[in-house]
């Protein structure tokens, strides 16, 4: 009886979550689908974005995200592996590092934006540019990626490490062949979370990658991100709501594509490794 109640509650929560998000997404789809067309994706914006398309903005968004990922993936994974595999859990230094990371995950994005503005744009003289935006986003994503990856690695049973050590396998090999594949769903989840946060970021990017909605010619050019575009259209441009919802829909579709491909990659890796292991 209690068991049945529990099952019911679980299905109910799932239902509530699904409905709430259904409401939100259907709102975006209904309002935005009218704007969606091939020319919306391939034209330059006109009349402050009320008309025309969002092609340069999509390109800028992808460039900013790409820059951030190139930096954050090696840094984040490396740091997480070091934390999880090459240090003693109980050591003071590791615990304080972990605490610092948690605090940094909580720095409001607008503060990252101001930091990026002062440090990357100003101190390193990168100006308003895609590079500054990408670097700022990388700072934001770093703590999230490190903590989720570390959690994934910590969850791998210690038996496997002991077995590896007993067989004389180097930690590096063990890591690559067993631990990372095993933790790959967690790593992917962390990566997707941080990518999600990055694509959704507005506050930090207004201050760093800027407002220019022209096609960027290099990473040193200022480029407007999609989320910034949506914010500007909905809060600052008279009569921009339709285009704002249209852009939001494009952004959501982009996130779906990124998510699907990342999940597929991680599953492919996991299966390949684990199958060989067994």
């Amino acid at each position: 009886m209690i068991d049945r109640c529990f099952t019911f509650i679980i299905w109910l929560t799932a239902g509530i979550v699904f409905l709430a998000f259904g409401w939100l997404i259907s709102e975006v789809v209904v309002q935005g689908v009218g704007k969606l067309s091939w020319s919306f994706l391939t034209d330059e914006p006109a009349r402050s974005g009320r008309e025309g398309g969002i092609y340069p903005i999509i390109v800028s968004t992808l460039l900013i995200l790409g820059t951030a990922l190139v930096i954050v993936i090696p840094l984040g994974l490396g740091s997480a592996i070091w934390l999880a595999e090459f240090t003693k859990k109980s050591s003071k230094r590791v615990q304080s590092t972990r605490l610092i990371l948690d605090v940094l995950a909580g720095v409001p994005s607008i503060v990252f934006g101001l930091f990026g503005y002062a440090f990357f744009c100003g101190f390193l003289d990168l100006g308003f540019s895609i590079l500054s935006g990408g670097l700022t986003l990388a700072c934001m994503m770093l703590p999230i990626l490190i903590r989720t990856t570390e959690a994934g690695l910590t969850a791998v049973p210690n038996d496997w490490r002991r077995a590896g050590a007993a067989l004389g396998v180097s930690r590096t090999t063990l890591l690559w062949q067993v631990l990372l594949p095993y933790a790959s769903p967690a790593i992917t989840a962390g990566l997707l979370l941080s990518i999600g946060r990055a694509t959704a970021e507005t506050a930090a990017l207004i201050f760093t990658s800027g407002y220019v909605d022209r096609m960027p010619e290099s990473l040193n050019d200022s480029g407007r991100a999609l989320a910034v575009h949506i914010y500007d259209l909905s809060m600052n441009v008279v009569g921009g709501d339709k285009a704002a919802y249209g852009s939001a829909l494009v952004l959501i579709i982009m996130v779906v594509i990124i998510n699907l491909s990342a999940n597929a990659l991680s599953e492919f890796w996991l299966e390949k490794k684990i199958n060989r292991l067994q």
């Binding site: 840094l75 407002y211 008279v238």
Partner: protein, 292 residues
Amino acid sequence: MRLFSLFVKVTTAIGGSVGVATFLVMLSGATTFHATTLHAKENTRLVLTGSSTVAPLALEMAKRFEKSHPGVRIDVQTGGSSRGVADARAGRADIGMASRSLKQSESDLFSYTIALDGITIILNKDNPVKTLSNDQIRNIYTGNIKNWNQVGGRDTRITVVNKAEGRSTLELFLHHLALKNSDIKASVVIGDNQQGIKTVSGNPGAIGYVSVGAAEFEADYGTPIKLLPMGGVDATVETIKHRRFPLSRPLNFITKQKPHGMIEKFILFAQSTVVNDLIEEQYFVSLAVPLK
């Protein structure tokens, strides 16, 4: 198998250091590259920063200017009037944008008005109230009048929509009513124009003040809001243009020195009739008089 694992070992071992290396190379490379491009294009790249009210207009002007002046790039960044003034003074921007006049402490800078903007009271369309005197507005905003039936409306609680600290709209409004911001008892505080319009259109008891042009456009396109006259003068583009409307503000370009070269050209361009259609499109009021 052996070969593969060796390969893997090598790649993972160097993978980490490559990460750091890429990071550093990207940083240093980007810095030098940036410096050289800046140097090469020094005379052809203009940077504008400042008021979020002016930014969309300046961006459109910049695009049109670039078309007629090949090789020129104008980058428009947003961030608020005070930042526009500060950036112009510090040389971070060639032109600062401000949606207010220069203050006394800023009189060493040069300002050029490119358009006018008015501010008026808006109510939800369902609200039967047709007009409010300055006294009534003052009493509503200071919390002495809390219900619409005290000013001839329905029995609904008043939702007072105010702007956030530092906005030039707020300063103008307070100045007009001779109030201090700490006197105001707001129920909602907003940032930008559109947020104000959305708040009032979704709340039958709300009162707010926003840019006349924006409100006119939204009302024309069916958003349930209405504009109230201020001091007996209707809030329209016409009354602002003839400087009859009591609450108006200039949209300015700010420079540190007397403009010359491309900066001067762009400012003259922005003040000319060539861009009148762009100004109207943003629902501001142009000052340039067409040549007869």
